[in-house]
């Protein structure tokens, strides 16, 4: 990819002014860290953090057939959103069971808002267009016009309550609210990708620098820190959340990735259902497990997993579990090695490091 084709969010200059280290992520020039991944990670676990995730994609689906279309495209059950201002986590699944993308679907007054991964915007759009023909729907890709900020951490609700129209503390998880911050119209879901309470806040792209500054200023008294994609990755891993391209891809089903809780095989027909039913009945060939390894060397993507002398799997994501204080990883292994407590080893630079399968997630916040 050439420099010329790298995209920037409207907040790029704000990030640079804060001293962020910028990296290319999925074709976007994004902040990986401001001060340090560890301090940003801890800010989110104990106070609050603000992330620019405007690179993510947003699609609007409307029309008389919108409900039926979205319901056909996703593995979760849209009936779980009986009224507007609710959201759910789900995946687009291919006929052979592989995953096109994972996403959040918001039901709004007159349409559905789909929030997809930045790296998959074009692919997802084509996937939806290809299957939309049989349905009475209109689709709009508002990714470039929309900014998305993630305000995460135990103090997130205190900060956002300064700007929300409704009482934020009473807003249930995965529900949608609105507000105004320094004149900027915002919509937000009580969602996130960190394992903490928090909100993902939408606004018009050109207004996002105002919203960014307003939230950082309002969060000062609550210990807010700007956070980059580095901490976002360590936080999501500790919280046991999959990342597309690591735990999910076109050769990995949501069941194999451990997302069975979000797959509703008893609902009406949906794309990929037959393959998932088949996997469920005949067993999975691989399964994503959580591993904790001993010592201080960190497991990383691509490292091999062994049972005795036999190579049985591969690490899909690994890092220091910054809050839990030990090396942690996601790995794909055959189901017979996926039992909690199973002893395995991870080969790290020629040494087989003991690791054991633990319950997902590595970190769960106190509620």
């Amino acid at each position: 990819m050439t420099t010329a084709s790298i995209k920037e969010t409207p907040l790029a200059s704000a990030h640079k002014a804060l001293g962020a280290r910028m990296v290319d992520f999925a074709g976007w020039n994004m902040p990986v860290q401001y001060k340090s991944i560890i301090s940003e990670h801890m800010a989110v676990r104990t106070k609050a953090g603000l992330f620019d995730v405007s690179h993510m994609g947003e699609f609007i689906i409307k029309g008389a057939g919108a409900f039926d279309f979205v319901q056909y495209m996703i593995a979760n059950d849209l009936q779980k959103l009986p009224k507007p201002n609710m959201a759910l986590y789900t995946q687009f699944v291919m006929p052979h069971g592989g995953t096109v993308d994972d996403l959040i679907v918001y039901r709004r007054e007159n349409d559905f808002l789909l929030v997809v991964n930045a790296s998959n915007i074009d692919k997802d759009w084509q996937w939806l267009e290809k299957h939309a023909r049989k349905f009475d729907v209109n689709m709009e890709n508002i990714s470039d016009a929309t900014a998305l900020l993630a305000l995460q951490g135990p103090n997130a609700a205190l900060i956002l309550s300064k700007f929300a129209k409704e009482q934020v503390s009473a807003l249930p998880s995965f529900c949608y609210g609105t507000g105004i911050a320094s004149g900027v119209e915002i919509g937000f879901g009580r969602t996130g990708y960190t394992g903490e309470d928090g909100f993902e806040i939408f606004c018009a792209a050109e207004k996002s620098p105002i919203l960014w500054d307003t939230l950082l200023e309002a969060g000062k008294e609550f210990g807010i820190e700007p956070c980059g994609l580095g901490a976002r990755d360590t936080l999501r891993l500790e919280a046991g959340l999959p990342l597309y391209g690591h735990e999910l891809d076109e050769e990995t089903s949501p069941l194999e990735s451990g997302l069975g809780w979000s797959v509703k095989l008893d609902k009406q027909d949906f794309l990929g259902k037959d393959a998932l039913v088949n996997q469920k009945q005949n067993g999975l060939s691989k399964q994503c497990v959580c591993l904790v390894s001993e010592g201080k060397q960190l497991p990383r993507q691509g490292y091999e997993v062994y049972a005795g002398d036999k190579k049985i799997g591969i690490v899909s994501s690994g890092s220091q579990g910054i809050f839990v204080g030990k090396p942690i990883a996601f790995a794909f292994v055959p189901p017979q090695f996926a039992t909690i407590g199973q002893a395995l080893t991870i080969e790290i630079r020629g040494n087989k490091i003991p690791a054991s399968v633990v319950r997902r997630p590595f970190y769960k916040r106190a509620r």
Binding site: R21, V32, S36, G230, Q297, L298
Partner: protein, 127 residues
């Protein structure tokens, strides 16, 4: 602001050398520490081990990445910084001071003639 003390020598693999008599104190530069980000683990050899210049002598891991460490000079390790095993973050906070890695008895002090000065290294990392 990253600093490169005048009195040190630097090599392309981003280690520095501080000469104290016939002993070289070795660590990584501020540039390297900044690029790595939060250091979580430093694997160092035992005292008594001998290395040639450019040999791999250890491994440094950060949250983001893992890198090999290379000898800026030939020599025998006479001391390693044991503190780094419990406080690897010293490499980030004070790479030239408390974050030093090893002391090496110089096998050939003339090797340092080809190492970079502070200003040469600064130009090297800016380009």
């Amino acid at each position: 602001m990253l600093t490169y003390p005048q009195e040190l020598k630097y090599v392309k693999s981003h280690e520095f050398v501080r000469v104290e008599g016939n002993v070289a104190v070795i660590g990584i530069t501020a540039f390297a520490a900044d690029q790595l980000g939060d250091v979580t683990f430093v694997e160092l050899p035992k005292a008594g081990t001998s290395f040639k210049r450019d040999d791999k002598f250890g491994v440094i891991e950060s949250v983001k990445s893992v890198s090999d460490l290379f000898m800026p000079v030939s020599g025998k390790v006479v001391a390693v910084n044991e503190k780094l095993s419990s406080e690897p973050e010293l490499v980030n906070s004070d790479c030239y001071g408390a974050g030093w890695m090893m002391k090496v008895e110089l096998a050939d002090a003339s090797e340092l003639n080809s190492a970079m000065s502070a200003s040469d290294y600064q130009s090297f990392v800016v380009d």
